[in-house]
């Protein structure tokens, strides 16, 4: 009944990486938009908006992603809102990533010297133009490295989507492991694939960080 861990099993695991990639892409797109809104709300001059954003961040940074996925998916359904796993995953990962990116980007926005904002204000530029042309472009340069760093965490975090039925990399590994009983081969392969997906991102993040610190040293 046990089948050996062979080329076929290896390929099945490799193929599962597509779901990991797809989930990461969704999370990142959703989190990118949500995170920007949260970050802007966090630095806004409107107090209720700031507080709401802070509450949002507290809740979604303060609970495990696993629980968020579970409650969004099964919870919505028992309340009679039939949602499919893709929508649930999109929602949960977006909320999760928005909270983290929002917090990262808030820091980057605040790291832009206040004199920049003042100079823009003194020139008569209004909120939208100040953000669009002065603050965000400078914040973006600082943000690249930590953002890519978070993307790496997110790629790995998508493995938790297994709980709502996604057979992504980690889950596929468990399934194959149950059929082959070769845990070291299986999880070694899984680890290697994650490494291949994440390492280039990490390298990129570090290159960006270096480039940035050199640019600011001058």
């Amino acid at each position: 009944m046990i089948r050996p861990f062979g080329w076929n099993e290896f390929l099945i695991i490799v193929m599962a990486a597509q779901w990991t990639i797809a989930l990461s892409a969704i999370a990142f797109a959703g989190g990118g938009i949500g995170g920007l809104l949260i970050a802007l709300a966090r630095v806004s001059e409107v107090r209720p908006l700031r507080l709401a954003a802070l509450g949002f961040i507290r809740v979604f940074q303060g609970t495990p992603l696993l629980m968020q996925l579970f409650l969004v998916f099964f919870g919505m359904n028992i309340f009679g809102l039939a949602i499919n796993p893709w929508i649930a995953a999109t929602m949960a990962l977006t909320l999760h990533a928005s909270a983290f990116l929002g917090e990262i980007w808030r820091g980057c926005i605040e790291a832009v010297p206040s004199g920049q904002r003042e100079a823009a204000t003194a020139l008569g530029l209004k909120y939208y133009n100040r953000m669009r042309y002065i603050v965000l472009p400078q914040a973006a340069r600082i943000a690249v490295a930590p953002t890519v760093g978070f993307l790496v965490q997110l790629v790995k975090g998508t493995s938790l989507a297994a709980i709502i039925g996604f057979t992504e990399l980690t889950r596929q590994g468990q399934i194959i492991n149950n059929a082959t009983f070769s845990p070291f081969m299986v999880f070694g392969t899984v680890a290697a694939i994650y490494f291949i997906l994440c390492w280039p991102l990490s390298l990129l993040a570090r290159r960006m960080e270096l480039k940035f610190s050199r640019a600011t040293q001058r």
Binding site: M1, I2, R3, N8, I12, M15, F70, F73, F74, G75, N77, I78, A82, A162, I163, I164, G165, T167, Q174, I175, I176, N177, N178, A179, F181, P183
Partner: protein, 240 residues
């Protein structure tokens, strides 16, 4: 509550099934759900003239899947127990396994009291979890893993001395490590049922009717023969 008519008019029946529980549920070489449960599920769908949409579930989340309407039925090696019967409604048995405590040749265990001071691995939320928890003395340590494979791995790597598993998994341990482990205790014969949401009486009746039919005409037995090498055991065929 859902009825067979609903399912027939939808044209598909969504069936939750384990895919990490060989030989009942596996992913085959083509990465498709397969195994005893899969064949039963397909047979059921054929009987009702609808398409079977198989949804892979895991041990811990299979009941939430059913409760939250993600699937219509579970053909997920779900052992019929009293506690579970509070959450779902069970059909007549469609399969059965016997559960035992296994361990290394040289570990001396002949009766439940001998488990005293030992560590026993089980798959969390499984029938064997319930059974071992019931008989183990206070000072035995029960370690709960996410699935049978992890429990088996814990046994093989020496992290636990004993594990509670089904005879089917035990056969696989024998394949993986011939002669090192044997059965210490037989805990229970566990029958497994097809589960529906609570209160879906009409649907449950239809499932039972189907089971009666395939038990009678030998189709179920043939599937059992195919996956487990023996005909359907009597304790299953005769009901609870």
């Amino acid at each position: 509550a859902q009825t067979v008519e609903d399912i027939k008019s939808a044209g598909t029946v969504k069936i939750g099934m384990l895919v990490d529980f060989p030989p009942f549920g596996i992913m085959n070489e083509n990465n498709q759900p397969d195994g005893y449960d899969a064949d039963v599920a397909k047979l059921l769908a054929k009987e009702w003239g609808v398409e079977a949409q198989i949804v892979p579930v895991t041990g811990p989340n299979r009941i939430p899947y059913l409760q939250s309407n993600q699937v219509d039925l579970l053909v997920a090696s779900l052992g019929i127990t009293e506690e579970r019967a509070k959450s779902v409604d069970f059909s007549e048995p469609y399969a059965g396994i016997s559960i035992g405590v296994f361990g290394a040749e040289d570990v001396e265990v002949t009766k439940p009291e001998d488990l005293s001071g030992k560590t026993i691995g089980v798959a969390r939320a499984s029938t064997q979890d319930t059974a071992v928890t019931k008989i183990a003395p206070q000072d035995a340590t029960i370690q709960r893993f996410d699935d049978d494979a992890s429990a088996v791995q814990a046994l093989l790597s020496g992290q636990v001395e004993l594990i509670g598993v089904s005879n089917v998994v035990a056969a696989q341990i024998e394949e993986a490590a011939p002669g090192r482990f044997n059965q210490k205790l037989e805990l229970s014969q566990q029958v497994q049922g097809i589960a529906v949401r609570k209160g879906s009486d009409e649907l449950l009746e239809a499932v039972n009717a189907f089971l009666e039919k395939v038990k009678a005409d030998g189709q179920l037995s043939a599937i059992h023969e195919k996956w487990l090498g023996t005909p359907l055991p009597n304790f299953v065929a005769e009901g609870k």
